[in-house]
Subunit: 173 residues, 2 copies
């Protein structure tokens, strides 16, 4: 997908955040982001479960831990921080489509003010409290104009054959 999006998840806590960070990673993968970097505490079981999904369901979605998230900001990317305090994201999507690789920063419970100041854009998906999973999903869907919904992983071991009712999985292993 173009532009390439790296999702940077801040402040992961294995006990409290495992399922939410997993949902962030899986939604990022399913909706066209290229990879995820996370900071906070290292969590090998999180990494293993995302790698296992990628291996079985196809595509390439690396996930890695960053001890120091500040070093990730130095990449040659446009830094977009999703926050309910920011400007409406939908107005900024058209120019972000043309601005090269994006580092999409999503917070945990407490985001240091430094993040707000380091970001090129602080953008909100509504100005209401809700969910970083919902926020990144809407951001990616608007950025890619829904084309991400059509992507197919030809290297998948297993894939779903969409059904009106029930479940049908094609297993190539």
């Amino acid at each position: 997908m173009d532009p390439e999006v790296t999702v940077l998840r801040l402040g992961h806590r294995p006990f409290r955040d495992k399922r939410l960070t997993t949902h962030c990673a899986l939604a990022s993968r399913a909706l066209g982001a290229s990879c995820m970097v996370y900071s906070g505490e290292k969590d090998t079981s999180l990494e293993d479960s995302i790698r296992s999904v990628s291996r079985r369901w196809g595509g390439d979605f690396p996930i890695r831990y960053a001890r120091n998230w500040r070093k990730e900001l130095s990449a040659e990317s446009t830094r977009v921080h999703l926050t309910m305090y920011g400007l409406p994201f939908q107005k900024h999507i058209p120019k972000l489509r043309k601005s090269g690789p994006i580092l999409l920063i999503i917070g945990g419970e407490k985001v240091p003010m430094e993040v707000y100041h380091s970001a090129d854009y602080n953008l909100s998906v509504t100005s209401q409290p809700h969910s970083e999973v919902a926020g990144l999903a809407l951001f990616l869907d608007r950025l890619y104009k829904g084309k991400e919904l059509l992507s197919i992983h030809r290297d998948a071991e297993i894939s779903v054959v969409p059904q009106k009712r029930g479940k049908l999985v094609r297993d190539r292993t």
Copy 2:
């Protein structure tokens, strides 16, 4: 918002699912759904936290527990079950906009096959494993054509004033 959407969250487990169900409820509220019903185990702290958000941030977003989710299906609504095994949701959105109130069913870990058979539509937001929070967010955004992003709660005690950098909250209390 029109059509009216009630979100039915199945199989809530207070210990394991609290934060995910909270995110489902908050994203539903922020993106224009009318209310949430949840089954599984009753969780008063979940209910209290959603009611507290609604009271402070405005609008009316009731949440209630249903011991028997089957009774909720009897309502005069079109039943849409979000599942990765279903048909691509984006193709069905246009007719759902005209079909009256919607009961949007989102599962927990294991959804009984009965749900697939009771639903009028089993719809997928991609055929990949990801997140019910992302799924319902994209469903609501497409259903309401992005108009839900512009809604304002005039009765809010607190609201965000969008900023390029930093946080500004208007407090009317």
